[in-house]
């Protein structure tokens, strides 16, 4: 079924900021160029290109994939844009993986780009367009409501204190101090800072949320046949999984993301992981909100339901803990340009496993990492397992 093993041999990432001067094409170019330099690859070597980029409404450019094409080294190549909301950051590399795993391409560039800063007065305005037009939109919803409702359900079912959730924001914003692209790194932030930050939609406060951002990231995938031509130390993609639950979110209990568990089981089966808690050395679960990291640790079967806040309180998820979570600094610390969070969720796996994470490096030579993204109306999960 899978014809070729797939290796990662290079990664690139731009600065993440609320607004960047560069166009989406230019950001795609900068990230791709860095990944290609890292891998020792030129445009002529690329067999195929995958672009991941999220709602067109942010940029106001429909046919956004085509708009970004030239910047993504896609002109004159087999090129496709994939998009499934917040899940795109890991889905774009999944698509890149199957281009190579199928034996169709030996060398594939995966680019993920987002510019949220172009949308006025705030990208929240574009998010209004994702709601169901018949039942939800007449209530004038704000997207933060969704997460507030899910967070409240999760907290109430497991009797979780807000301060145990705030610890995630503190950890990730501190972890981001070692990341050159980071938008909201803060070496001095405390749990009290999070708990005292502006109330937005209870229980969500300002510092529980990742920021809107501009940015891009890129990866080079190659088949097992050519990997050794480029590097002595390829990092392997061992498993991929994705799953989406019903759009009728008011008919689902939001306390546990069962679609994440399904996607994780798919990826773990492919990777031959029978005991994820023991076999996985570190993880990059999607953390657009602090509670989401905990929710997703549980969905990824890295702990029991309701146990993630306890592990966090005990320091297990710190960079030097037994199960480092979001060593990149995550979305909370590095920023949240939707699709381009591939930089934290997949590029970071590569940098950590290749021993290239420098100031962010997890001690103890980690061997297996899992990255995950999440999106749509609390329904989409995308998972990737990588191995040294």
């Amino acid at each position: 079924m899978i014809k070729k093993d797939v290796a990662v041999i290079g990664a690139g990432m731009t600065l993440f900021r609320r607004r960047l001067k560069e166009t989406g094409k230019e950001l795609s170019f900068l990230a791709s160029k860095m990944a290609m330099e890292d891998a020792g690859i030129q445009k002529k070597d690329l067999d195929m290109v995958v672009m991941g980029t999220a709602p067109d409404a942010f940029d106001g450019i429909h046919m956004k994939g085509e708009n970004l094409l030239d910047g993504a080294a896609g002109a004159g190549k087999p090129y496709v844009r994939v998009f499934n909301g917040g899940g795109t950051g890991v889905f774009a590399p999944i698509a890149g993986w199957w281009h190579v795993a199928s034996g169709v391409a030996d060398v594939c560039l995966v680019v993920a780009e987002e510019k949220m800063g172009s949308c006025y007065p705030h990208p929240q305005t574009a998010f209004r367009h994702i709601w169901d037009p018949i039942l939800d939109r007449p209530l004038n919803p704000n997207l933060v409501w969704l997460f507030a409702m899910e967070m409240n359900r999760y907290m109430t079912v497991h009797n979780i204190k807000k301060e145990d959730i705030a610890r995630v924001a503190v950890k990730n914003k501190r972890n981001a101090v070692g990341h050159p692209c980071a938008q909201l790194a803060d070496p001095n932030i405390t749990v009290d800072d999070v708990l005292n930050s502006e109330m937005m939609a209870w229980p969500v406060q300002r510092l529980d949320i990742s920021p809107p951002s501009d940015g891009a990231a890129a990866l080079i995938f190659v088949s097992e046949d050519v990997a050794r031509q480029y590097t002595d130390n390829p990092i392997w993609i061992d498993g991929v999984g994705w799953n989406i639950d019903s759009t009728m979110w008011t008919n689902r209990d939001l306390y546990f993301p069962r679609y994440v568990a399904k996607a994780a089981r798919m990826a773990y089966k492919m990777a031959g992981i029978s005991n994820p808690r023991k076999d996985i050395d570190f993880a990059e679960p999607y953390d657009p909100f602090d509670y989401k990291e905990l929710h997703h640790m549980e969905g990824l079967l890295l702990c029991d339901k309701g146990e993630a806040p306890i592990l966090t309180r005990e320091g297990v998820t710190q960079r030097d803990g037994d199960l480092p979570i979001c060593p990149s600094g995550g979305l909370l610390g590095v920023g949240n340009p939707i699709a381009a969070t591939m930089g934290q969720k997949v590029c970071e796996l590569y940098w950590q496993l290749a021993g290239k994470a420098g100031k962010r490096q997890i001690p103890g030579d980690p061997r297996i990492g899992v990255g995950q993204a999440w999106g749509d109306i609390m329904q989409m999960a995308t998972v990737m397992v990588m191995r040294r």
Partner: protein
């Protein structure tokens, strides 16, 4: 050994991109173009939603069965998304339910800050199943300190002549009093 490790570069080795501040745009320090789209939509409501919204206009919450999956579904649809068979047997449900989850929002739809918070959440309708089975709506006649998950609530309807076949034909859900 520790020192050698610290000498390794941190990847990405550089972070390309030029930060632009909101003030840079306001003060025209960078060039930009501006576009305000004008686009409108009219959605036909389809078979299931037309019937449901007609029900709301008549002051009724309607549900529909999937007998195969043993579901009494609200909001109703033409098919069951799990077994993928057609739904059947529409019924009127009592307009009472339980708060499944909620938020106290200080944000309007455009992320502007508001003083008086909006109480919003998911109501699991009493007679529908399996739980949670319901929809999003506002809450009223309760304070942000009183609202809680598990609270019993009842729909407050607009006067009949003001209903137009919309989710807003229900004004909000209020606490269910002891005598109701």
């Amino acid at each position: 050994m520790e020192n050698r490790k610290e000498e390794k570069p941190t990847y990405p080795k550089y972070a390309p991109g030029t930060h632009v501040r909101t003030s840079d745009i306001r003060d025209k320090k960078i060039t930009y173009t501006w576009w305000e789209p004008e686009i409108q939509y009219a959605w036909s409501l389809g078979n299931a939603m037309s019937k449901f919204l007609q029900g709301l206009k008549e002051g009724k919450i309607l549900g529909v069965h999937c007998h195969k999956c043993n579901r009494l579904i609200v909001p109703p649809r033409s098919f069951c998304e799990y077994c993928y068979g057609p739904t059947e047997d529409w019924v009127e449900l009592k307009d009472t339910g339980t708060i499944n989850t909620y938020s106290v929002s200080y944000l309007d739809p455009n992320a502007n800050r508001i003083e008086e918070p909006i109480l919003i959440g998911v109501i699991s309708i009493d007679e529908a199943y399996p739980k949670p089975m319901g929809f999003m709506h506002y809450f009223g006649e309760m304070s942000k300190d009183e609202i809680h998950i598990g609270m019993k609530v009842k729909a407050v309807w607009k006067p009949e002549d003001e209903r137009e076949g919309s989710i807003n034909d229900i004004k909000y859900f209020k606490p269910l009093g002891g005598g109701e």
